[in-house]
Symmetry: C2
Subunit: 316 residues, 2 copies
C-alpha cells in the first residue's frame, strides 16, 4: 500500500486538454497502446497486434461456466442487500430503484469473491503485459442492465473523463469487461469503435461541480460531439460485443464506446475492472475541480499487482 505516488512521466503536463475549448477537436494520441510487444504475458503476439490496431480484444468464453455461476450468485447477494444499496458505491437506474452499477467490487469488504477475480493473473496479467508495468485497480464495478428497461449509455472515451475529472495523466490503462450473461445483438451490448483509441476527441464545455453524481446516471456534459463520432464510426465501423457468459473484452482506456438501451427480456450484467499502470497514478484533476470520490477513482488505496506476483509468463 503506497500513499505517495511516484511518477516517472511528467504527470502535470496536460497532453490531452478537454472541456476547455469552444470547439471540439481531434488530438493526436501521444502515448503507446501496447507499451512493449516483447513483454512477457498470456497474450500472443497476434493478440497484442490486434489490440493495438483495434483498441480492444474479445476472448469468447474465457472463464468457465462454473466460475460464472459463482459470480452470478455473488451478484444476487449484492443486489439483494439493503446495506449495499445504501452505500455511496451503489448507482441506481434513472427513474427506477434497481441497481445499475456497484463500484469498488474489488474491495474485500464489499465482495471477497470479486476481490479475487480482480487480482486473477489470467486477466490482471494481460493488463500488465499490455502496459508493461505493475498495475493497480483504478476503478471496478459490476454493471447490471436489466431486461425491459435498461437505459442507453452514450458514447464516451473513459480516458477523457479519467483525465479531466480524476487526473489520470496519460493513456496507460486497460479495461477488462467480463460478461456474466449472454450478450446478444439485441440486449444492449457494449459497442466499440475500432481504431477510435488512436485519437483523442477533445470535448467542449466545462465540468460542473459534482458532475459525477449526474453523469453516472445519465451523460449530459463533456460528451463527444456528433461530427467527431460520425467520423470515427465511418472510418472504423461499430462492433457489438456479443458472446456467451464468461467472455472477456479488454479495451484501451481511450477506445470510444457506448451501449443502446435494452427493451428485451434478457438482462445484461458484467464485471468491470480498470487496470492502471503504477507509473500513471492519479494527480490533481486537470479540470481544477475537487477530485471525485475514491470509489470512482482510486488515488490513495493503491494495492499494486506486480508483474512478478501475477506470474506472467512469456508467450514465447
Amino acid at each position: 500500500m503506497e500513499t505517495t505516488p511516484p511518477h516517472s512521466i511528467d504527470a502535470r503536463e496536460d497532453c490531452y486538454p478537454s472541456r476547455v475549448q469552444p470547439e471540439p477537436e481531434f488530438l493526436k494520441r501521444c502515448d503507446p497502446i501496447v507499451y512493449n510487444h516483447e513483454a512477457p504475458g498470456p497474450l500472443s503476439a497476434a493478440q497484442l497486434s490486434q489490440f493495438e490496431r483495434d483498441g480492444f480484444l474479445i476472448l469468447p468464453a474465457f472463464f468457465p461456466e462454473a466460475d460464472i455461476a459463482t459470480y452470478k450468485e455473488e451478484i444476487q447477494r449484492l443486489g439483494a442487500s439493503d446495506e449495499i444499496q445504501q452505500r455511496p458505491e451503489s448507482i441506481l437506474e434513472p427513474d427506477h430503484c434497481e441497481l445499475r452499477s456497484l463500484f469498488s467490487v474489488h474491495k474485500p469488504e464489499i465482495s471477497p469473491c470479486f476481490s479475487e477475480v480482480a487480482a486473477d493473473p489470467r486477466i490482471a496479467g494481460m493488463a500488465a503485459q499490455i502496459l508493461d508495468d505493475d498495475v493497480y485497480i483504478h476503478q471496478s464495478r459490476v454493471n447490471l442492465k436489466p431486461g425491459f428497461a435498461g437505459k442507453e449509455f452514450y458514447w464516451h472515451s473513459d480516458f477523457e473523463t479519467w483525465h479531466v475529472e480524476d487526473g489520470m495523466p496519460r493513456m496507460r490503462a486497460v479495461s477488462c469487461s467480463l460478461l456474466l450473461t449472454e450478450n446478444y445483438e439485441f440486449n444492449g451490448p457494449l459497442m466499440l469503435i475500432p481504431g477510435s483509441h488512436c485519437q483523442f476527441v477533445a470535448c467542449v464545455g466545462e465540468t460542473p461541480d459534482d458532475h459525477y453524481q449526474k453523469s453516472l446516471r445519465r451523460q449530459e456534459y463533456g460528451v463527444p460531439d456528433q461530427d467527431s463520432l460520425a467520423r470515427l464510426a465511418e472510418d472504423g465501423g461499430i462492433v457489438n460485443v456479443v458472446g456467451p457468459p464468461g467472455t472477456i473484452v479488454l479495451f484501451d482506456c481511450n477506445t470510444m464506446h457506448g451501449s443502446n438501451g435494452n427493451i428485451t427480456p434478457f438482462p445484461r450484467s458484467n464485471l468491470f475492472f480498470v487496470y492502471n499502470s503504477l507509473k500513471n497514478r492519479l494527480v490533481e484533476p486537470f479540470c481544477s475541480k475537487k477530485p471525485r470520490p475514491e470509489f470512482i477513482a482510486n488515488r490513495t488505496a493503491v494495492a499494486p499487482l506486480t508483474m512478478r506476483e501475477l506470474n506472467v509468463q512469456s508467450h514465447a
Copy 2:
C-alpha cells in the same frame, strides 16, 4: 371508393378482448395466418410456409438502389417541409423537434411518390396473396429514427391496438416495412419475436381518452406484460431485421415487435404500409371510446387494391 363497409364475418364479436381484465392472459388466435396457400401471387409456397411459421418474412434488397434513392429524396423533401411538420399526420420525437413519423404517406396529397409505392403490385400483391382477398391501406407512414438520439419503441402487437382502439375485427392484415437505410444490428433495428403471432396477449388496464396522442410518442398504456413477453422470447427468440436499403419485411398484424434506441451516428428510416383485407374493415372500437383519427386508422377513405388490378400471378 366505398363508404359503407360490407363485412362477411361477424365483425361485432370480440374474439380478442384486451385491456378489460385485471390480469394479462394468452388467448388462442382464432384466425388463419396464410388465408389460402393456393392463392395466386408473387410469394412461393416455401415463403408462405415460412411466413405462417414465423409471423414474418424478410426479403433482402428487394427494391433496387435507384428506387431507394428516389424515396430518400422524397423523405428529404417531406422532412424539410414546414407545412408537412405542422400537419396532424406528423409525429415528433419526444423532447426533440425532429420528425419521428409521418402518417398517410400513401395519400397523393401528401406524397405522390409514396402513393405509387403503396399500390405497387410487387408488395401489395404479396399482402393480397397472404390474405387471399382484395386489400386496402389501413395505415401508412414513414418512420425516421435519427442517429444519436433515436428512442426505443416498446414491444407491442399492432393488432392489439388496432383491434381495441380502432375496431379492426379480426387478424387479417399484413404490414410491409421497406428499409430505406442500412439496418445494422446496432442502430435500433426492428426486432421480431418468431411465433408470437400465434397467440394474442390480452393486456391489462383501460384505454384512456386521447391515448393515441401519447402512445405514438412513448408507449405507456395497454402494453404487454413482462412475463408474457419473456415467455414469447424464450420460446421463439428474437430476430433483428438487418439488411441493406431496399430490404422488405412482411409481418403479420399480431407479430410481437419493438426496437431499441439508437445512439449510433447511423439513422434508420423506413416506409411502412399496412394492408388490411377488404372483408376486415373497421367497425366501432372495441374499447368503446371514440375512434382515432382517420390518418392513423383508415375507416372511410378506403380505396381497394383488387387482386385483379394487382395482377397477382400464380407462382406455379
